[in-house]
């Protein structure tokens, strides 16, 4: 589906990721397709367990096999399929072309190496810098991401930084080898709201300044509203809605997106009662047949229980996977 026009950096086509666990098989990502344009920030939003992080790991080819498996789909990065690449080719891609920022810098950074050691290792491997050059570059990077007096913090360990500073270090590491494409997996979730604001500002600023493309994964619709250009909404391993940020917020089409937007309490204090989505997320080991959302959907019809809806264009650039729109289209 996703056309690989030259302006597309990354395109996912029918990506499916399955895990073979002791308790049974779990399809964490099911037929996900979307494309990210150059210089664009794509927000992938969904609740916990929806498969957004697995998608990110699949792009980085970090799904452990076993128990993971990618039975279907393509991940086209700059036009070539990541899944066909050899390990060596993949290593060349990682760090230099695609990099990733994780949610918990405390666990995503190695606890027994200093910050300088870790970042300069990447620099020396990818860019072939000498030890001294790498060290100098680390200082530059740290000051770039706003760590005060970086030459003093160079030889500190991760646990010696505060939460916000850790995420800056993580970002410095990801940016170290000038990748053109960044994946940020819930980079602000573990942070307090004031720190979240600064990190968000930092990431969006960096992306703009360095002309990068960004895949931003989050569960926070507020963050999406301000950091992204295009948005994909995931529910239970499927993308249920895809479109421009403004479209999605102004005219949400999928009942899940609508429900999500109605579930958020507002700062201006309107609405004494929220209209939440009823029930809870389905068990991914035994998902319901048909649309995964139908047990929670107020508009569920017979067809929803039988058939998995496909993503369909409703308005230009705005897609939703819901049988309600079949009727409208028909």
């Amino acid at each position: 589906m996703a056309e690989t026009v030259p302006n597309t950096v990354l395109a996912l086509d029918d990506l499916t990721v399955r895990f073979h666990l002791r308790r049974g098989d779990l399809t964490a990502v099911d037929g996900v397709s979307f494309a990210i344009e150059r210089g664009q920030t794509f927000g992938l939003v969904g609740e916990s367990g929806s498969g957004k992080s697995v998608t990110a790991k699949a792009i980085m080819r970090l799904i452990p096999d076993p128990p993971g498996e990618i039975p279907r789909g393509r991940i086209l990065f700059e036009g070539s399929n990541i899944l066909d690449k050899s390990n060596a080719e993949m290593r060349g891609l990682r760090g230099r072309h695609i990099a990733m920022v994780f949610q918990e810098p405390m666990s995503a950074l190695n606890p027994v190496f200093t910050v300088c050691d870790q970042i300069s290792d990447a620099l020396r491997t990818n860019l072939g810098l000498s030890k001294a050059e790498a060290r100098e570059r680390v200082v530059e990077l740290l000051s770039l991401v706003g760590i005060p007096s970086p030459h003093k913090r160079l030889d500190s360990y991760v646990h010696e930084f505060s939460g916000g500073m850790r995420q800056r270090v993580m970002l410095a590491m990801a940016l170290s080898c000038n990748p053109g494409f960044l994946i940020a997996d819930e980079p602000t979730t573990a942070l307090d709201v004031t720190i979240q604001a600064t990190i968000l500002e930092l990431i969006t600023g960096m992306i703009e300044r360095l002309g990068m493309s960004l895949l931003f994964i989050t569960h926070n619709l507020g963050v999406v509203a301000h950091a992204c250009d295009r948005v994909g909404v995931m529910y239970a391993s499927h993308i249920v809605e895809l479109g421009d940020k403004k479209e999605i917020f102004a005219h949400p089409q999928h009942p899940y997106t609508v429900g999500l937007l109605h579930s958020i309490p507002r700062l201006d204090g309107q609405a004494k009662y929220l209209t939440p989505i009823s029930g809870s997320v389905c068990n991914m080991m035994e998902p319901p047949a048909g649309c995964k959302f139908h047990p929670r959907c107020a508009h569920a019809m017979d067809v929803c229980r039988r058939e998995i809806p496909k993503l369909k264009e409703i308005a230009p650039g705005h897609l939703a996977a819901c049988h309600l729109h079949d009727r409208g289209a028909a």
């Binding site: 500002e201 507020g222 201006d268 204090g269 929220l274 809870s280």
Partner: protein, 328 residues
């Protein structure tokens, strides 16, 4: 406001933890430090209202919850529950107080004992307080509780691991309700939940308050949640309350620079709203041996000389609002 209206009031409540205070540290010449987790806070909660306590992690909100329930003993200050001094309670009276004040915790996964059935979890508090004698009586009450929090009665003999996060939080709420409390303290009760579930639980809190006339102390770091659930709000920063007032007024026209900063930093789920940004400098100050003066010193855009020397007291500014700032 008459005294009878006030269910709980707190005056000068303080909790300091001593770091490096033992003999070995002294032998090694380490300085004793004081972590001022909660540093002289005042607030009150009227019967039937919801007081929202908001602040960033480490500001002392959870410690406050544990202090007013006497799960930890305060260093100084007064806690008055129904016009009685909670800190002077005898063992027996304290046990009664445990019935009057109940807690709902943040993590629905660790707040329920994994080895006990729902029946046990919900009937144990009744047993302790002698609220139900026979097994059948307990059973009936537990079923009633389950219904009340929106769970199916068939859940009664199951174990916590068979439930989702949202359902567990309902069970935790049912446990709090099992002793017919007057005050329920929610310590970040919705922050571990997904948005759609969070909304369900927030609604449940609302419904229960209306049905049972409960009083809430609701602690959260999420400002929109606080705005949604609270009648009045208290904003905490590093062990101090910096601003209190009716929710609507406080959110519409924040007075303290910290409250303003918090509000400006919230990303609202509406692309038309201004993007989040931080109006303060640097990062959260430390509660370990804080310097005299205002805790926001060094970060505040409106700082003056006096800020570094004198801690601003919480003063009335009318409309039921109080602010602790020298430079309003």
């Amino acid at each position: 406001m008459t005294a009878a209206d006030t269910l709980l009031s707190v005056k000068g409540l303080t909790k300091h933890f001593t770091l490096h205070g033992d003999i070995y540290s002294k032998l090694a010449g380490e300085k004793t430090q004081l972590l001022k987790a909660v540093d002289g806070i005042d607030f009150h909660i009227r019967r039937g209202e919801t007081l929202g306590l908001v602040g960033e992690s480490g500001c002392g909100k959870s410690t406050t919850a544990r202090l007013v329930t006497r799960l930890i003993e305060p260093t100084a200050g007064q806690v008055t529950l129904k016009n009685q001094n909670l800190l002077a309670f005898s063992r027996k009276r304290l046990k009664e107080a445990r019935k009057e004040v109940q807690l709902v915790f943040q993590d629905p996964y660790s707040s329920l004992n994994p080895r006990k059935t729902i029946m046990h979890i919900l009937s144990r508090p009744m047993e302790i307080h002698g609220l139900a004698r026979s097994w059948a009586e307990k059973r009936e009450k537990v079923l009633e509780l389950l219904r009340r929090v929106g769970l199916g009665i068939e859940h009664i003999d199951r174990y916590p691991h068979e439930f989702s996060g949202g359902q567990r939080q309902r069970i935790a709420i049912a446990r709090a309700l099992s002793v017919d409390p007057e005050l329920v303290i929610g310590d970040e009760p919705v922050s571990a939940l997904d948005v759609s579930i969070q909304a369900q639980i927030l609604n449940l809190f609302r419904e229960l308050q209306q049905e049972l006339g409960l009083t809430y102390l609701f602690i959260a770091h999420d400002l929109s949640v606080i705005r949604h659930i609270s009648d009045r709000v208290a904003v905490m920063y590093v062990g101090k309350i910096v601003e209190t007032g009716p929710a609507a007024a406080l959110f519409e026209r924040p007075l303290h620079p910290y409250t303003k900063a918090l509000l400006a930093a919230v990303p609202e789920a509406d692309p038309a709203k201004p993007p989040p940004r931080l109006t303060l400098q640097g990062e959260v100050s430390t509660p370990i041996d804080p310097p005299p003066g205002c805790r926001l010193c060094g970060r505040c855009p409106r700082e003056s000389n006096v800020c570094a020397e004198i801690t601003p007291p919480l003063v009335d500014v009318g409309d039921g609002r109080q602010v602790a700032c020298h430079n309003l």
